[in-house]
């Protein structure tokens, strides 16, 4: 499991082991100030980062910056 969230300290407190920091609380996987196209590119990058985290062996809580 990979946790994608904006407030990383909460994720660390509740015990997620793979954490990918995201954009903002109301739009973790988007940025309304970008064009739709650029926003989707940003989202794809974040999702790729999450998938990469799932493929990475970890021994404890790890934040994938």
């Amino acid at each position: 499991m990979v946790h994608m969230c904006t407030v990383v300290p909460i994720s660390l407190t509740v015990g997620a082991n793979r954490i990918v920091p995201t954009v903002a609380i109301p739009h973790p996987l988007g940025n309304p100030s970008l064009s739709r196209e650029d926003e989707k590119k940003l989202r794809r990058k974040l999702v790729e980062k999450a998938l990469n985290a799932l493929q990475t062996e970890v021994t404890g809580q790890t934040v994938f910056e």
């Binding site: 994720s11 109301p26 988007g30 309304p32 989707k40 794809r44 999702v47 999450a50 998938l51 493929q55």
Partner: protein, 348 residues
């Protein structure tokens, strides 16, 4: 003047019977019954158990409102200065009955109550704010150990004495803050604590954090191009109209929704149920909370094996850890049954 005490117990401790008698209707008996005898000994001359109200656990839990009224009526007639409930140890229905009676006694009669329960008894979380619940062991074998602190606290309350901290008195913390005077100012106390912490010495925090459990990290996915990935979210992403009516805060449930025929989330097919954050951006384009568009694209391109047909959603806003744990267990079971290899959990 002797302190008047009424004791509430269930059918089992009254010696009426076990599960087969759990539908026993409320009755009142004069004096101490069952565990009340040990309490009476602990009270000595100072207090007297004038009556014992007995009710079957199933009867109480299945007829909560009516049973509470009946029991309270019986208690009130005996004009108590204090009411004892249980102890219920780890018996769930008994704990809930003790807690409900305690809450009603405090609210309706304005009489203090002492109960006793094992910390994991569901009655604790529900009623610890209403009454003092002494921490007990998980079975009736701990009766002797429960009686002393319950009796001590009962006498203190009935005398109108000041009640000490949970550690001093042995009750489960009620989550009620109390002002107190400290000899040193906060900054000094904090620095002293920090120094102790740095030295590796013991210190007592003034603001304990809730305890969260830890899990061993899952193994890495070896071949992502063959892996089945699922989406789970606490950001409240639901189909348009929120069909399961997931609450905008303190969620009591989660939803499971099909992605069949959906390549993109948009204002026509989806919205967020989450309160507490500005929902405008999520409602404009819910892919911002649940990246369905990108994952469907990657599934088509063969970048992942597949995207699990369902997504799971709840609202994280103010939701209790106990509920969240239950949702997680149920969702995980479903994911395992569907052969999911990896999960992306998104939170707002």
């Amino acid at each position: 003047m002797t302190i008047r005490i009424v004791h509430y117990i269930n059918q089992f401790f009254a010696g009426i019977g076990g599960e087969e008698k759990a539908d026993h209707k409320p009755e009142v008996r004069e004096g101490a019954v069952g565990p009340g005898i040990a309490f009476q000994q602990a009270f000595g001359e100072e207090a007297k158990i004038v009556a014992t109200v007995i009710c079957g656990d199933s009867y109480f839990n299945e007829n909560m409102a009516a049973a509470t009224d009946e029991v309270i009526g019986m208690i009130e007639k005996n004009k108590p200065d204090l009411v004892l409930c249980g102890p219920a140890f780890n018996a769930g229905r008994y704990g809930i009955a003790c807690g409900a009676v305690a809450e009603a006694v405090v609210d309706r009669l304005g009489v203090p109550v002492v109960s006793g329960m094992y910390p994991e008894n569901p009655g604790v979380d529900l009623y610890k704010k209403s009454a003092y619940i002494i921490e007990t062991s998980n079975s009736a074998a701990g009766m002797r150990k429960a009686v002393a602190p319950m009796a001590r606290l009962a006498l203190k309350l009935a005398r109108g004495e000041e009640i000490g901290s949970p550690e001093e008195e042995g009750y489960i913390p009620r989550g009620i803050r109390q002002n107190q005077f400290a000899s040193e100012r906060g900054s000094k106390r904090a620095v002293e604590m920090l120094i102790k912490k740095l030295k590796g010495e013991e210190y007592t925090t003034e603001y304990p954090m809730p305890v969260f459990d830890r899990v061993t990290p899952g193994a890495a996915i070896k071949d992502i191009k063959k892996a089945k990935i699922a989406l789970v979210s606490s950001g409240g992403p639901v189909p348009k109209g929120n069909p399961d009516r997931i609450e905008s805060s303190s969620a009591s449930k989660f939803g499971k929704y099909s992605l069949q025929g959906i390549d993109d989330l948009n204002p026509e097919n989806s919205e967020t149920a989450h309160g507490g954050y500005d929902p405008v951006y999520a409602n404009e384009d819910l892919d911002r909370v649940l990246p369905v568009d990108v994952l469907k694209e990657m599934e088509r391109e063969g970048e992942i094996g597949s995207l699990h047909e369902y997504w799971y959603a709840t609202v994280g806003n103010g939701t209790s850890v106990a509920n969240a744990k239950r949702f997680a267990a149920e969702i995980a079971k479903d994911l395992l049954a569907a052969g999911v290899d990896g999960v992306i959990l998104t939170s707002t």
